[in-house]
């Protein structure tokens, strides 16, 4: 609080022109990857390895493989399943996490069974799930959710349990109802932890999307990549991995935008405290 009063002499920031700040963003976003690419390219030229083709070869394979019908037939359906899986994971994770975090006996009841299931490796779990739920898209989404829900769930539970006890007491003494406490105290207080969980679950979901397509499948991004792998189509395999990475970056960017909105109050406090 005191920091706000004494800091009327604002730390003058040099007004940067728009183009400069865009340039600096691009520099930060692409600088390091570009540097790594150059390293790879040099190494591939010096000692050519069959399993590590040069970036240019990979790029050409990328254009040939993914720009075209494969995009509509394989990539889009996979991304759709991924999106549905992520949304479901977040919803289930937050809802279940809040309930389990607040209701102690439920956690004690469910935790052993949940932890047990979590440890079953996907290559074994997927055939079992397919036996029960059939070979359709629903099963694949279930596979994604089965894995991606955990980071959200665990982080939500921890976040909900970490609600400051002073604030809880204050809310109680102000006679807020349970719902109000949940909405205005518990969830907002837990939201930084929840967002950490969501961030983790994005990449887990992507990984599981690939794994879910390795079994009893005939199309999809993950399916294509494993097909290339099994059949030594190495530049194509790397181009598939490249595409996965790009999707990951895209997801992260979207997440960044959403996070800034949701946690604006949190960042705001930090910003003010830092100033």
């Amino acid at each position: 609080m005191t920091s706000m009063e004494t800091r009327t002499i604002a730390v003058l920031r040099r007004p940067r022109s728009r183009s400069r700040s865009i340039l600096s963003s691009i520099w930060f976003a692409l600088g390091f990857p570009f540097f790594l690419l150059v390293l790879w390219g040099v190494w591939a030229t010096i000692s050519p390895q069959k399993f590590f083709p040069s970036p240019i070869t990979i790029f050409q394979a990328f254009i040939k493989t993914w720009i075209g019908p494969a995009f509509v037939d394989d990539v889009l359906p996979s991304l759709l399943r991924l999106a549905v899986g992520i949304v479901l994971s977040i919803v289930v994770g937050i809802v279940a996490g809040t309930v389990i975090g607040l209701v102690r006996w439920l956690r004690d009841l469910l935790e052993p069974v949940l932890e047990f299931f979590r440890a079953v490796p996907p290559p074994v779990l997927v055939p079992i799930l397919m036996l029960i739920f059939g070979p359709g898209d629903a099963t694949r989404v279930i596979v994604i959710v089965a894995g991606a829900v955990w980071p959200v769930l665990l982080n939500t539970i921890e976040g909900v349990r970490s609600t400051d006890s002073v604030m809880t007491e204050t809310a109680r003494s102000y006679a807020l109802t349970r719902w109000e406490r949940l909405r205005f105290l518990v969830l907002p207080a837990a939201s930084p932890r929840i967002m950490t969980g969501v961030r983790q679950s994005l990449s887990v979901a992507l990984i599981l999307m690939v794994i879910s397509e390795m079994f009893n499948n005939s199309s999809g991004l993950g399916y294509r990549i494993t097909y290339f792998q099994t059949n030594y189509l190495i530049p194509e395999m790397w181009s598939g991995i490249l595409l996965l990475g790009l999707v990951g970056v895209l997801l992260a960017t979207i997440f960044g935008i959403v996070e800034r909105r949701v946690l604006a109050w949190y960042h705001g406090i930090k910003e003010v405290e830092r100033a």
Partner: protein, 328 residues
């Protein structure tokens, strides 16, 4: 005092439990039939844990490889996709794999040629074959043409399975382009078939018999109707090893040839080895259809397979057989 008593009790219980333990990995006394005390070289060979590997296991126990001064260590790889990187890394010296692996390796110029054959499917005049497309009785699929428009599983897409199935369907008058091929590992196929997740499955024994003797039927033996007697499994190594240690490769190939001839003449020994190494019950092992174990490569038939693969778009082009084969 209480804690000490508990500790003693637990210790006694543990000791008692240990005496009741079995040890399934206690090493058997292995008899090596070797007259000359020559140099024994350990060779790591990648082979799938499948019935066909029975010949290798049986021959190892018979001491055939020991006669050539070779001690074989079998590495249970999961198929060609892993065998060839393992070969290139040098962790394994040889691999036993289906021919499409070397096809692709030749096309990608990876330097992993075939040195000899290992097993082939049964010829055209045999009653049955080593693998088949099976379906449930209730599916209404009775002949290859019925597979058009259906969901058929193979263990590995883009290999001999889907190629020969497509040819069989085409020969029977169906449209192979309408078949939806999916990848399901052999052991999972019967379950998925029964659950209705797939319409038909391409499987070898013991799964082929499992379905055919149960609620299903054999639709077609794709190898038999397209390229009978085609190579099922081949012996693969790296060009690098051939260049660096031609003696070893020659010895291995010779030992393997003798082993395969012996195995072909001693099917009971092979079945016994399958029971011992895979844990399959004897009754099931007795019903397994064994392939023809031979080291002889039929180049013509390999060429036919490659042509079919190109015809159905599974391979972009026919591999260069000069790179593909390095017969010993």
């Amino acid at each position: 005092m209480k804690k000490a008593l508990t500790a003693i009790a637990l210790g006694a219980a543990a000791a008692l439990a240990l005496t009741a333990c079995t040890d399934s990995a206690a090493p058997d006394p292995v008899t090596t039939a070797s007259d000359e005390p020559g140099e024994i070289r350990t060779v790591r060979v990648a082979a799938l844990p499948i019935a066909e590997t029975g010949a290798l296991w049986a021959a190892m126990e018979e001491g055939i490889f020991a006669e050539y001064g070779l001690e074989i260590e079998v590495v249970p790889a999961q198929g060609g996709a892993q065998a060839i990187p393992g070969l290139i890394n040098g962790d394994i010296e040889f691999a036993i794999g289906q021919p499409f692996g070397p096809f692709r390796a030749a096309l990608a110029d990876l330097g992993a040629p075939i040195i000899s054959n290992y097993a082939s499917s049964l010829g055209a005049d045999a009653e049955k074959d080593v693998n088949a497309v099976v379906a449930l009785n209730s599916s209404g699929i009775t002949r290859p043409a019925d597979l058009a428009g259906k969901r058929v599983s193979v263990n590995s897409l883009g290999a001999a399975g889907d190629v020969t199935i497509m040819k069989a369907v085409k020969d029977d008058g169906g449209d192979p382009s309408t078949i939806e091929f999916v990848e399901v590992a052999f052991p999972d196929a019967p379950g998925q078939l029964e659950a209705g997740a797939i319409d038909a499955a391409w499987v070898p024994d013991p799964f082929m018999s499992m379905v055919a003797n149960g609620d299903g039927l054999i639709v077609v033996h794709p190898y038999q109707v397209t390229v009978p007697g085609i190579s099922l499994l081949t012996n693969i190594t790296t060009q690098r090893l051939i260049d660096e240690d031609p003696e070893l490769v020659k010895d291995y190939a010779a030992a393997m040839a003798e082993a395969l001839d012996w195995a072909q003449a001693n099917p009971d020994a092979v079945r016994a080895a399958i029971v011992k190494n895979m844990g399959i019950p004897e009754a099931a092992a007795a019903g397994i259809t064994l392939p023809v174990f031979t080291a002889k490569i039929d180049e013509g038939k390999l060429g036919q397979l490659a042509d079919l693969a190109v015809e159905f778009g599974v391979l972009d082009q026919k591999p260069d057989f000069a790179k593909l084969l390095s017969l010993q």
